[in-house]
Amino acid sequence: MTSPITSRAGSVEPVFPQQLPAIPIEPPDPLAEVYGRMTWDLPASISYVAYREVIAAVDIWNPTGIDRMYAVGYYFINPQGVIVAHDYLQFLGGITFTAFLLYANSPVNMTTVVTFKAPSVGYKFGLQLLELEMSGTIAVVKYETSRLEVALGIKQNGGGGGGGIPLTDMLGAVLIMVPMALIVKEIQGGKNNHGRI
């Protein structure tokens, strides 16, 4: 009989942020913006047609003198004011990236493209820049430092009003985030040679 060696390294959790702030939540403390800033090229409201894709260019930077880790949360609020989706943006790819580090005083902003759509007019879509800190091997949310929100305006088109959209429908319509760098990553070979993780 053969017995495996049982010694093993301590288990390390993947870096995934925990404790996404519950919504509805208070707007971030304006003072928190000193820890992380985010802007986009969308106004506070836009005219919208159901299921039309909206593309936003997002700039994120670290205005502080030390390196900091962040993640970006997103949410949808339906016309009745109910939060129907709330999660972290994921930088798409064979390997999924959620947390990221921005360097002190961000010599270059991180530019990202966010694409999203909603099943009707009257929704709101928002982004939250969240500062993270490591607690052991887990990244936990420390502050919400910046918030962006756009109202998908009452415009026209069939069904309008759109209340009562099931959450599952919303999730199917969520978003794609394209970081300045990667979109698709594949691991080739090894034990998981299908690559998509």
Binding site: I5, P14, F16, A99, S106, L182, G190
Partner: protein, 115 residues
């Protein structure tokens, strides 16, 4: 979580996209790190520099050296540091872990006295 044998080389493909309206010079450094120190590579970072025209994208393949282990398994985080024009912009941390296992696993048979 993907799993690889230690001491092997695995290939990671990254598609970089330039969302800007001008050509940009990028450098991408791919490495593995422990979650307890995400900025300290446990292998030699694989560094690739390239230029992407405005609005373009480019597949970049990284031959990633998987570290040798002195233990049975170890879990790491895949990290990708991106520089633009030589300036560090961001380091992404993988949400999914990379598990490395010692290969071949060391085992032993039952001790037989006076066989």
């Amino acid at each position: 979580m993907v799993e690889f044998d230690d001491g092997t080389t695995q290939y990671a493909r990254v598609t970089f996209t330039n969302p800007k309206g001008a050509s940009i010079d990028y450098t991408g450094e791919f490495y593995l790190a422990s979650a307890t120190d995400l900025t300290l590579p446990v292998n030699n970072p694989v560094i690739k520099s390239f230029t992407i025209p405005a609005g373009g994208d480019l597949n970049v393949d990284y031959a990633v050296p998987i570290p040798l282990l002195a233990v049975q398994t170890a879990d790491y985080v895949a990290c990708l540091k991106v520089l633009v024009g030589g300036q560090p912009v961001v380091t992404f941390f993988g949400s999914d872990g990379v598990r490395v296992t010692f290969s071949p696993a060391i085992g032993w048979g039952d001790i037989v006295w006076n066989p």
